[in-house]
Structures are given as structure tokens and as C-alpha cells.
């Protein structure tokens, strides 16, 4: 399901002294099949935006289309929409309520798929619980409240994916988990992404997480989308991110510092890719026959014009690196990498133009 928002606006407590405009015209489209990241501070409007996507917040201004659903239409079948667009809230374990894990997971199924018989439901629940990496038989009759923290979160996620939503939205899914728990969770999301779950949208503060998992991301600030593109495009705009008070991934931070020394690394900002690119640079340098002149030349060139493409040697090597990398980096590396280069020449490409949004608004009327 393709998601298209045009000039989306939203105000909390309208017409009262406490009115606050959370969305000031959001233009964003998320294609089917993406692993999309949403970045922004608390209060940037990102939560308000994602809650629009399954009509937990009703659309009051602008246009929003999620697959075949027109969310501005009052006659829209919201229940069916919610079965297609699953939403995992922050700390989802706080929504558990039933006597057993099985019954809790079944809750959504009973609400959405009323025509299912008991056997079908039991089968779906088993699948969901096994998908999140838990042992169905061991856990089904236990109270969700006596499980460990990590298990609780998995059960809660199972309770959302049990209806196999085509779009799965997760608000800070890894919050409060330890590093290994975070990694396991991301692996889980990748394992369902591409199957029945066509699109995954995560809201995250962790830039490393975005860089390593997402195909594309959008940066929210003060109710608008200020940057949108591949992680490579977004994180190459480090100055812009800093000015918004946001972080960059470790790799981007490092790349920025290296750039100041005249060393350019073109990377998609995953750790593995970054290491690979540094290595190729190093090997290239060694290969060019102990001559330190080549390096100096390179760095001088980089200093002169940052917009220019990086030294030929690097380009070739990184292309080679891509081949050798295999499965360790996302499939989209190639595109990301090229896109990054394009965007550097014309950096405004990644920035969305609010003028378009107003145009969209006009159409709606």
C-alpha cells in the first residue's frame, strides 16, 4: 500500500487557548516495500503523523491516502484500515491485559476477523507468537504479566502482527532494550518485511538504527518534513541535522571529521560499509606504490571542491567493495550510494519544498 500525505495539518485542542498546531502541512509519500524511518524530536509532529496513518487521529486538514483508503473520507472503513495498518506503540508491553499470552495476541484477531473460526484463530496466534521468536506451547497459557521484559514486548508485537498488516508502524520499538535486544528486534522486523508485511515504518531517535535498517527516512521538525531521502542522502546533510539539534550516526560523525582532514568517504553510513570504504581507501593508497603524493593530491582535490565527485580511485574501489560485501548491507546500497552522489551536487533535492504542499492543499479544495 502506498502512503501519500499532502499538506496534512493537525491542531490539538482547536479553538481553545491551549491550541497547538502539531502538523503544519506534511507532504510525504512512502512507497510499498519500503523500510521507512521517521526521525525528529519529541514534539516535532512525528507521532501525530504516524497516528494519522491508521486513523487513530482523524484527518482534519490536507489529504491522506493509504492504499485504497482515502482517510479524508468520513465513510472510510476505519476498522478494515486498522487491520491493514498495524501500529506498535512505544513500550507496547504496557497494553497487555488478558489472562494468558494467547488470549492477548488473539484480541486483534477477534476484533478484525470475525468470520474466522476457533481453529483458524489458534493457528494465526501460533504463527504470530512463533514469528516473534517465542515458543508457542511454552508461553500460550502463561499470564503476560509474569513474562520477562523482552518476552512481554514480543507478545505485544505478536498481538499487532497477528492480523498480518501490510503496513507495520512501530514507535521507538527498541526503546529500553539492551543492545543485543535491539539487534534481535531489528532482525525480527527484517524477517517479516517483504513477506505479508510489505512496508515497515519505524519512528526512532537512534540514527545508527536508521542508517543500518532503513531504505529511506524523513526528518520531522516543527510539524513539517524538512529532509527526506535515503539514509545516505539524509546523513550527508550533517550540518543541517546538527542545526536541528539532531544527531548523526557514528559513521557520519566520523566521516564529517575525516572530511575536515580532506579525506572523503562515500558511504551509506552503515558500519560495515564505512569500514569497507575506509579499507579500500587505505588499500588504494598502498597500491599506488608507497607514494604519499597520491594521497595528498586526493585530499587537496577534496578540499577544493567538495561538491565534485570523489577521487577516481575511491569510486572504483567502493564499487568493488559493494560486490564483495554480499549480504552484510541492505540490498539498496547501490542505489543509495549513487543517489548520495547526485544529491551532493544539488543538496536541495533532499529537502522537500513546502510550495508543493500548498499546491496540494489547493487541489484538495
Amino acid at each position: 500500500m502506498r502512503i501519500v500525505a499532502q499538506g496534512l495539518t493537525y491542531t490539538y485542542n482547536p479553538k481553545s487557548p491551549f491550541a497547538s498546531q502539531a502538523l503544519k502541512g506534511v507532504d510525504l509519500s512512502i512507497e510499498e516495500g519500503e523500510f521507512f524511518g521517521i526521525i525528529g524530536h519529541t514534539g516535532s509532529g512525528k507521532s501525530t503523523f504516524v497516528q494519522h496513518l491508521n486513523a487513530l487521529i482523524r484527518c482534519t486538514g490536507g489529504k491522506l491516502q493509504v492504499g485504497e483508503f482515502d482517510l479524508t473520507d468520513k465513510k472510510c472503513d476505519f476498522l478494515r484500515l486498522r487491520s491493514k495498518v498495524g501500529m506498535v506503540f512505544q513500550y507496547p508491553e504496557y497494553q497487555l491485559f488478558a489472562e494468558t499470552a494467547e488470549k492477548d495476541v488473539e484480541f486483534g484477531l477477534k476484533n478484525f476477523c470475525k468470520e474466522m473460526d476457533e481453529a483458524q484463530r489458534a493457528q494465526a496466534v501460533r504463527e504470530a507468537i512463533e514469528t516473534v521468536g517465542l515458543d508457542y506451547d511454552a508461553i500460550r497459557d502463561r499470564s503476560p504479566f509474569e513474562l520477562s521484559g523482552g518476552q512481554k514486548r514480543r507478545v505485544a508485537i505478536a498481538g499487532v502482527i497477528v492480523t498480518k498488516p501490510e503496513v507495520l508502524i512501530l514507535d521507538e520499538p527498541a526503546a529500553g532494550l539492551d543492545p543485543l535486544g535491539k539487534k534481535e528486534l531489528m532482525d525480527l522486523l527484517h524477517s517479516i518485511h517483504g513477506g505479508w508485511c510489505k512496508t515497515v515504518i519505524i519512528v526512532s531517535h537512534d540514527m545508527d538504527e536508521i542508517a543500518e535498517n532503513c531504505t529511506r527516512a524523513a526528518v520531522f521538525s516543527e510539524g513539517r518534513v524538512v529532509l527526506c531521502g535515503t539514509p545516505a542522502e539524509i546523513f550527508s546533510r550533517d550540518e543541517k541535522l546538527f542545526s536541528l539539534g539532531l544527531d548523526v550516526p557514528t559513521t557520519a560523525h566520523c566521516a564529517l571529521l575525516l572530511r575536515k582532514h580532506g579525506i572523503r568517504i562515500d558511504t551509506d553510513f552503515t558500519c560495515d560499509d564505512f569500514a569497507q570504504k575506509v579499507l579500500s581507501l587505505w588499500q588504494a593508497e598502498r597500491g599506488e606504490g608507497q607514494g604519499s603524493a597520491a594521497v595528498k593530491e586526493n585530499s587537496a582535490a577534496a578540499k577544493d571542491s567538495e561538491e565534485d565527485s570523489s577521487p577516481v580511485a575511491v569510486k572504483e574501489n567502493s564499487a568493488a567493495a559493494k560486490d564483495s560485501e554480499g549480504d552484510s548491507s541492505p540490498a539498496a546500497t547501490q542505489e543509495n550510494f549513487d543517489a548520495a552522489k547526485d544529491s551532493e551536487g544539488d543538496s536541495s533535492a533532499a529537502e522537500t519544498k513546502s510550495a508543493d504542499g500548498q499546491g496540494g492543499d489547493g487541489d484538495a479544495e
Binding site: 566520523c254 575525516l258 582532514h261 558500519c271 594521497v295
Partner: protein
């Protein structure tokens, strides 16, 4: 001088003593030290923290805080005066609806005079950079601000030890940074002993010393750089390296001569040095 000493401390949440959460920990933390305690969820690090200020008492062994035996219940009030604790959830540790009333809670409990409480509020809010929020409502503040108020609430008792039990876990990066700045300053300027329980590796790097907990035992203990250099061991305890250290290790294993580095800054310098050396 010694701030905290564990002598073969054991603690179990079960009455019959099975599955101890802390299982025979012996270690000592000096005054003025900044110690990070790392470990997976359920490794016993929070239990360890609660043993320090007598919220939990060891089932076996001893814990001494500022020289006082925590199992002596008559001393628990004095112990808590010296070892303050900030918790994980910023929403669950404020008692009052106004910042200054909340910060006053501790000083009121230890029976200080009104004027002194006023001075302590002033000092504590100043130390965490929240003086202008004195009359604000905590529920309207950001997570980082709430945690700074919680720290101020502990500071107002003038403790010698500050324990932070995953106090940054629920914060966004900005909030985490704010809190880390405050505790580093306290350690540096007030010579306060800081015990920081965290699973953010980059936070552990800012400490003088890191202790790794695994299944109730303190399995690694040393300078953070030293600990992160033993990456195979860390992996055994299900911990991951800080990303910069991971990249560095990858470069080293491919034969590139870069020196050990743990932060983005260090890594950038190391790569630079290595490349320019050619």
C-alpha cells in the same frame, strides 16, 4: 577512601534463595570514582544498585556504604542520606506538582530548617541547570528535564554517592546528553562518587571505570577502554561494542594499522593518522 564495598554479596528475590539476582559480588568503589555498570537486562545490575542504598538487603554477605553496614536497619536512613538514587522512569519519581516542592521533598524528610531547604533547592536546581523552572509543573517538562529535576531532588540531600539506575534509558538523545553532562559535572566539580547503570556503551566510555555484570556476577572490571578492547569476552556476555570500536576492530582485522579507538573522534583521528602515514 572507600565509598562502597561489596563482600561476597548475594541477593535473591525468592524466599528460598534460588536464582540469586546478585550472586557473590565482591568489589569496592572509591570515593570520587565514576563507575559505569554494564550488562544485559536481567544481569543483576539494578539489584546491585539497590543493595547500595539499602533498598534491598543482601541475603548473604555484606554491603558497606560509606563504611556503614546496610543490613543494620537502624542505619538505613543515614545510608540513604549519603547514597542518593535516580531511577529509570522520569514520571514515577516526582512526588509534587511543582518543581521546587519536589526538590524540597528530600530535605523535608531529613528535617532541615526552611531557610536551609530554600538554599538547597537553589543549589540543586542550579547544579542541574534548571533554576528557571523552579515554579514549573514537572508533567509539562521534557524527559531530560524531568530526570534533571530528579537528580536535583537527590542532590538537595547533599549525598556523597549518586546512583543512576538506567536513568537515561527512556530519554531521547538530547535528554541523554543533558543528563550525562550534569553527572559528569557533578563528578568533576563536586567530587561526587557516581555509579551509572546503563546499557549505552557510549555512556560507559565517559566513566573512569566499567564493571560488567553477567548472571549476577561482576565478570569484568577495568577502564572502559580496557574492557572494550576485550571484545571477544564482551560478546560472550552478550554485549556489543560501541560502533566506533566495532569499525576500528574491523579495520584492524583487515590489517589496517589503526590504533584502538572507541569514539567517532578517536576513530577519525586514528584513520587520519593511518592514511597519512601511508
Amino acid at each position: 577512601m572507600e565509598a562502597v564495598r561489596f563482600e561476597n554479596a548475594i541477593f535473591s528475590y525468592n524466599d528460598d534463595g534460588r536464582d540469586p539476582a546478585v550472586n557473590g559480588v565482591t568489589l569496592s568503589i572509591g570515593k570520587g570514582e565514576f563507575v559505569a555498570i554494564l550488562g544485559r537486562n536481567g544481569s543483576g545490575k539494578s539489584t546491585l544498585a539497590k543493595l547500595i542504598n539499602a533498598l534491598l538487603l543482601p541475603t548473604e554477605g555484606k554491603v558497606y556504604t560509606c563504611g556503614m553496614d546496610t543490613s543494620d536497619e537502624k542505619l538505613s536512613f543515614e545510608i540513604r542520606k549519603r547514597a542518593g538514587m535516580v531511577f529509570q522512569n522520569p514520571d514515577n519519581q516526582t512526588v509534587a506538582s511543582i518543581v521546587e516542592d519536589d526538590v524540597a521533598f528530600g530535605p523535608e524528610n531529613i528535617g532541615l530548617a526552611r531557610e536551609e531547604i530554600g538554599r538547597r533547592i537553589d543549589f540543586a536546581l542550579g547544579a542541574v541547570g534548571m533554576r528557571e523552572f523552579r515554579h514549573a509543573t514537572p508533567s509539562r517538562l521534557s524527559g531530560g528535564q524531568k530526570q534533571r529535576i530528579a537528580i536535583a531532588g537527590v542532590l538537595a540531600i547533599l549525598p556523597e554517592i549518586m546512583i543512576l539506575d538506567e536513568s537515561t534509558a527512556m530519554l531521547d538523545p538530547r535528554g541523554r546528553r543533558e543528563v550525562m553532562e550534569v553527572i559528569k559535572k557533578l563528578n568533576r566539580e563536586q567530587k561526587m562518587t557516581v555509579i551509572l547503570i546503563t546499557h549505552f556503551m557510549d555512556e560507559a566510555l565517559q566513566a573512569d571505570r566499567a564493571i560488567v555484570m553477567h548472571r549476577g556476577e561482576a565478570v569484568m572490571d577495568g577502564a572502559p577502554e580496557e574492557i572494550f578492547a576485550r571484545s571477544d569476552e564482551l560478546e560472550m556476555y552478550n554485549l556489543t561494542l560501541p560502533r566506533a570500536a566495532y569499525i576500528c576492530k574491523k579495520l584492524q582485522s583487515a590489517g589496517m594499522p589503526v590504533r584502538n579507538s572507541f569514539t567517532a573522534e578517536e576513530l577519525a583521528e586514528a584513520i587520519c593518522a593511518s592514511l597519512h602515514r601511508g
